[in-house]
Symmetry: C2
Subunit: 106 residues, 2 copies
């Protein structure tokens, strides 16, 4: 999402401090939500870059458009490796998984 000018940016920062700072469980949920949103975006980007509609991609991996739509929904929380691989396979992409260390403090 785009960076905003100063006033709004500050408000966001203030809200962040108020609701998340020092609250690991909230932070964890936030991160998860971001990760899911990112996966949704990646799927859609891959599909549109390949020039397919949801129905076309669905057919390629042997399912229906509503399933693809669900996967591209930013609020969907049920992403699975199996599905990512099926999509990757149809679009000639390998799914790479990495564990990357997080800095501990904050």
């Amino acid at each position: 999402m785009a960076k905003r000018s100063k006033p709004t940016g500050d408000a966001v920062e203030i809200l962040h401090r108020r609701f998340y700072a020092g609250r690991p469980s909230r932070l964890k949920k936030l991160e998860e939500a971001r990760a899911n949103e990112e996966i949704a975006r990646k799927i859609r980007a891959l599909r549109t870059a390949a020039g397919h509609t949801q129905s076309q991609l669905a057919k390629l991996i042997g399912t229906t458009a509503s399933v693809i739509c669900r996967l591209e929904d930013a609020d969907y929380e049920g992403h699975s490796l199996a599905m990512l691989r099926r999509i990757g396979g149809a679009l000639n992409q390998r799914v790479e998984i990495r564990f990357v260390p997080m800095r501990r403090s904050a």
Copy 2:
């Protein structure tokens, strides 16, 4: 597994040619098997690097040792993003997902 000396290496190559060359579905399964094996190894590496037993890690993520054992089994095919994230979370690692293009031909 360890590299072997020439004769066996050639045999492996011959077998590869005989059973996989030009057979996409077999190749796909092979790749999947390798990917699963790799995830299993990564989980185990992460756990041992952190100095935990299977039971200890299990407790950290709220499950049992037999579940961890299953995940570290190279033949296990059911890896999920959800579980990888739980493990990563307990061991201070973020799970990164990337689609990386495959070369099409051979």
